[in-house]
Every structure is written in structure tokens, then in C-alpha cells.
């Protein structure tokens, strides 16, 4: 079961602000999900091959060729940024590590 300190850590890592009134509501909701998963955990999966995707397709890839996006696309992408300097995106200062 999820505890309050775990919840706060997940919220911090996900950069989601949750106010005090909401915390208990979300913990209750999340714990309902954990209960549901716990029921699934009871199924015997000894002879089941681990699956990550619901498709039998494999090796979907492309050859190594260069195709630049058009200047108009690049312009749209760039204009989406709140701030820019020369050709760089300008952002708040971050710790250099």
C-alpha cells in the first residue's frame, strides 16, 4: 500500500503539484489500483512468457538515411519556445552537473 511519503516523492519526481486536500483522495485512488494489481498478481504465470507488447511484429526499423525537416517546420518548432537567444532555446538556469 502506498504511504504518504511515497506519494509525495512520486509527485515530486513527476513534477506534479498536489495540494494537501487532494493528497488523501489520490492515495485512496492509487491504492485501489494497487489492490487491483495485487489480485492480478495471484494468477499463476509460471508457464507464461513475459510480454511487453501486444503485437507479434518484430524489428521495425529504417535504414540510416538523412532527411532534414523543412525550414518551415523548424521555424514552427522554434517559435513555440517561450524564449530564444540567437539559435538557442533560452531557459531558466539549471545546475551544471
Amino acid at each position: 500500500m502506498i504511504k504518504k511519503c511515497e506519494f509525495n516523492n512520486i509527485a515530486f519526481l513527476s513534477r506534479i503539484y498536489v495540494n494537501e486536500q487532494e493528497v488523501n483522495k489520490y492515495i485512496t485512488d492509487l491504492n485501489k489500483m494497487v489492490t487491483a494489481v495485487n489480485i492480478l498478481q495471484e494468477v499463476n504465470t509460471d508457464n507464461v512468457i513475459p510480454t511487453t507488447h501486444m503485437t507479434s511484429m518484430r524489428n521495425i526499423w529504417r535504414q540510416d538515411t538523412v532527411k532534414s525537416s523543412t525550414n518551415s517546420v523548424k521555424k514552427i518548432l522554434f517559435n513555440n519556445a517561450p524564449e530564444a537567444e540567437n539559435c538557442f532555446y533560452k531557459i531558466r538556469k539549471v545546475l551544471n552537473i
Binding site: 529504417r62 532527411k67 523548424k74 518548432l77 539559435c87 533560452k90 531557459i91
Partner: protein, 502 residues
């Protein structure tokens, strides 16, 4: 004064004694940019040095709904590298998301591999202090690079050209024991990867970066000490410096009665120290899960066999073969096999040469001195050398056959470098052909003896070195073209005859 020195000596001895009690355990995480034309999940160019953010698209800037398109070449490069390093291959593999917030990562997660890396359980062999050493490689996996941040006083600038370039991350077991060993490991790895051409490993361009995990423990202790991770190392020498610093710091911490704290430290290349970094997040949890937007891999035997066959002769074996086949010493062989391009150039030249006894050694000398110094000045790689391997072989053959002297060869070489013209054409054009016609040389020698009668007399009366003046004059008169051995022989004969006449 004496007392002070004694105290100081005691202190030094104490530190040295303490150092002997501990051993260092070092594990490396090496990131190498994969040598592909396009990025790993989109078709943007991977060219270095372009205008910031010019190599970006909806995928590598993470626009909502944009889906990754996997580059097959990136998979092949990692598998080939793994095979060359004796790794096992996970033929069934997939990608995972590693979630964290940092502005150089626009999706807020990095696509990487988690439980099923493409390669695992490999080894890398190298020679350290004349002994063979084998380091285990735990895994090599594929992931995407992040963008580049430039930090200003009050803000940061972001360039996403690098975001999404394919990276292979190689993780070793903590089996290296010193900065020097780590240095040799990294150089050996770099040489192999460059031979495979799976990464260019250009450190100045950030194509090879390294994190170091380092801990110390008392000799004979079984468990590992507390591990410290050092980041921000972008040259092999920085890795060496950081290990030496951190080793001393950890020993001092323990001998002072403190405890080594598990943490991430950054290397400050200006101050030459490691600094504790504030933890990015209070409890790091990357919440890995399988990347749903990329279909899993199932590599077949045909592909693996094809990649295996593409692995060229690797530097260590090539060096051994050069020593045996071309009678080179270990130093020359090491130097010539240090890059594949250089070794290829040399071997091609040896094959072109008509002389297979003296030419291999002479070619090695000419490449290592004349050619490389010129290439360094013009900042050219050997594959762009204006003097082709074929033309260099021709020049060496001309020296061996006595058609030109070594001195003239150097002059011709300068012209070859400037013009890329073959040496035979240049010799005719520059009128540099060696004079081996005896009657011409006799005439020149007679003139020179007359002009240097004092030197001639000295030679005849036993001062052997005096002949050099006369030889010098002949060479000057012939503009360096007279065959020097023939000149010496003829002068000696002429002077001997004139003594007899006396």
C-alpha cells in the same frame, strides 16, 4: 628546522603506509556516440558543429504524438562492438523509458535499454606492466543522447542538435585498480571501436564520455567499499586525474576517522578536484518501463553472422602480425596500428613497394616522421594525405635502388606533398636524378680537389676527416645530385693516385 623535516617525513610515511593498506576498485561507464549519418529515432543529421537547433525535427524535440523510427544501423553498431568484445547477444531485446526531468531531455524521459541490453558478459584484454589483464564487461546497451546546455550567469541555452544521436553505453565490472590501468583500458577500447568504425570516439566533440565508479577497501577485505560516482569526465586524462584525486580523498577521509558517503561528484577540470553535487532528486527513482512506441527486436542469425564477419583484424593482433611479417619493433608496430587508417596506409605502401626486405622498415620511418609531421601541420588525416601510399612506396624504392639519395628524396617528398605528383615524374621535372655517371663525377672531383688543395694534402698526410670538405664541394657543384658513396670512393682513389705520383 631538522625537527620540522623529521615531522614532515613522518607524516609522508604515515600517508604512504595508509595508502598501502587500501586498494582501489574502479568501474567505468563509457558512453560512445554511434557512427551513424542520422539520429537513432529520426532522420535528422548527426553532423557536429552545425548551427544550434538546425538538426532537429518533431521527433527529437518531442512534439506530442511524434513517434520514434528506429535506425537499424545503430543496432548493428552496438551488436558489432559487442561481438568484438566477446559479449553474448540478447537477440530478443527491447527499449525502456528512463524518466527524469532535465531541460536537455525534451521528452522528460530517455529511451534506453534496461533489463535486456543488446550485449552482455563480454571481456576486454589489454597489456598492463607486461602482463595480460582481462576486464569483464557487464553490458553494452543502446540509448539516445541528450541535448547540450550552455550555462550563462542567470540563464541557460539549449541546443537540441545532439538530442537523439545514438549512444552505446558500456559498463565494466569494478575490476580496474588504478588511474593508469583505467587509462590503458579506455585507450584500448577506443582503438578497438575506432577499428570497428562503430564510433569515432572523438573526445573533443564529446563523442566519448566517461563516468567513473570508485571505492576503496582494505586489502584482503571481501566486500566492496562505499561507491562514489564521478561525472563530467570528457577526456581520458581527466578520468586519470579524477581517479587519482578521488583515491587520495577517500583514503584521507577514512584515515581521518570519517566515512565515505555514497554520492555523485562532478569533476572540476579547472580546479582539478571532485565536488559533491547536490542530489538531483531527493530519492532517485527512474520508474523504468518498456517503451510502448518501439516494437521489440528479434535479431536473426544471418544478421549476427554478417556483423561478425565484418569485424576487421583488431589492433592487438594486427600489431603482432606487423612485428612478424614486416620485422618491425614493438614501438613501430604499435604506432602504425594505432589507427586503422594509418595501418591500412602503411600496409598498402608495403604491398606497392618492389622491395620487401628493407622497404617495410624505411616506410615505417618515413610515415612516422616526414609524412605524419606534415599531415599534423596541415591538420589532415592520413586518408586525405596528398602523398598516396603508392607514391610513397615508389619514392622508397628509388632510394633503395640508389637512384636518388636520402637528401634528394626529402626534397622530392616536399614537392610530392605539395603537388600529389608521383616521384618519377617529379625527379625528371626537377632535374633531380642522381648522377652516377663516373666520368662526370671524376671531373667534378678533380675540380674540387684543386679548389681544396689544403684539405687534399691533409687527407694524404693522415687526417681522414679532411675528405669531407672535398665531398661537400662536389655535392655543392652537383646540386646534391651526385651519388655520395661514389663521390667518396672516387676522391679516395684520385688522392691515392696523386700520392703515388709524388
Amino acid at each position: 628546522m631538522l625537527v620540522n623535516i623529521l615531522i614532515l617525513n613522518n607524516k609522508i610515511n604515515k600517508v604512504n603506509n595508509e595508502m598501502e593498506k587500501y586498494e582501489t576498485m574502479i568501474g567505468l561507464e563509457v558512453h560512445m556516440q554511434i557512427n551513424t549519418k542520422s539520429k537513432i529515432f529520426c532522420e535528422c543529421s548527426t553532423d557536429f558543429g552545425c548551427q544550434p537547433n538546425s538538426n532537429t525535427c518533431v521527433i527529437c524535440t518531442s512534439q506530442p504524438g511524434a513517434l520514434p523510427l528506429l535506425n537499424k544501423q545503430a543496432i548493428e553498431a552496438v551488436v558489432k562492438t559487442g561481438l568484438a568484445l566477446n559479449c553474448k547477444i540478447n537477440v530478443a531485446s527491447n527499449f525502456s523509458r528512463k524518466q527524469y526531468f532535465y531541460p536537455d531531455l525534451p521528452k522528460n524521459y530517455q529511451i534506453t535499454q534496461f533489463s535486456l541490453p543488446l550485449c552482455y558478459n563480454g571481456t576486454l584484454k589489454f597489456i598492463y606492466k607486461d602482463k595480460e589483464k582481462i576486464i569483464n564487461i557487464q553490458r553494452i546497451h543502446l540509448e539516445e543522447d541528450a541535448g547540450k546546455l550552455i550555462h550563462k550567469d542567470n540563464y541557460s541555452l539549449l541546443d537540441l542538435n545532439r538530442a537523439g544521436i545514438g549512444l552505446m553505453e558500456l559498463v565494466t565490472s569494478p575490476e580496474l585498480h588504478s588511474a593508469e590501468e583505467s587509462f590503458i583500458f579506455l585507450n584500448t577500447l577506443k582503438d578497438i571501436v575506432e577499428y570497428l568504425a562503430t564510433s569515432q570516439c572523438n573526445m573533443e566533440q564529446g563523442q566519448m564520455r566517461c563516468d567513473v565508479n570508485i571505492s576503496i577497501r582494505q586489502v584482503n577485505q571481501q566486500t566492496l567499499g562505499t561507491k562514489v560516482e564521478i561525472k563530467n569526465l570528457n577526456s581520458i586524462s581527466a578520468v586519470q586525474d579524477a581517479i587519482n584525486y578521488e583515491y587520495a580523498r577517500q583514503i584521507k577521509t577514512l584515515t581521518d576517522g570519517g566515512k565515505v558517503v555514497q554520492e555523485t561528484r562532478a569533476w572540476d577540470s579547472k580546479l582539478n578536484i571532485t565536488k559533491s553535487t547536490r542530489p538531483k532528486e531527493n530519492c532517485l527513482d527512474y520508474r523504468y518501463f518498456t517503451e510502448p512506441n518501439l516494437i521489440p527486436l528479434n535479431l536473426n542469425d544471418t544478421l549476427i553472422t554478417k556483423l561478425y564477419k565484418e569485424i576487421p583484424e583488431l589492433p592487438y593482433l594486427r600489431k603482432q602480425r606487423f612485428m612478424v611479417s614486416y620485422q618491425l619493433n614493438a614501438y613501430d608496430a604499435s604506432y602504425l596500428t594505432s589507427t586503422k587508417l594509418l595501418a591500412d596506409y602503411y600496409e598498402k605502401a608495403v604491398k606497392f613497394s618492389k622491395n620487401n626486405k628493407i622497404a617495410p622498415k624505411l616506410l615505417a620511418n618515413w610515415i612516422a616522421t616526414e609524412l605524419i609531421s606534415k599531415l599534423n601541420v596541415s591538420k589532415l588525416n592520413i586518408d586525405k594525405s596528398p602523398v598516396t601510399s603508392e607514391n610513397l612506396a615508389k619514392l622508397i624504392d628509388l632510394i633503395i635502388s640508389g637512384k636518388i639519395s636520402g637528401k634528394i628524396a626529402k626534397q622530392i617528398f616536399v614537392e610530392m606533398y605539395k603537388t600529389s605528383i608521383d616521384p618519377v615524374t617529379l625527379i625528371n621535372k626537377m632535374n633531380m636524378k642522381q648522377i652516377s655517371n663516373e666520368s662526370i663525377i671524376i671531373a667534378l672531383c678533380n675540380e674540387s680537389i684543386k679548389e681544396n688543395s689544403k684539405a687534399a694534402f691533409e687527407f694524404q698526410t693522415g687526417k681522414v676527416k679532411a675528405i669531407d670538405y672535398i665531398v661537400g664541394t662536389v655535392m655543392k657543384k652537383s646540386k646534391g645530385k651526385a651519388n655520395p658513396q661514389l663521390v667518396v670512393k672516387i676522391i679516395k682513389e684520385l688522392l691515392k693516385n696523386s700520392v703515388n705520383k709524388i
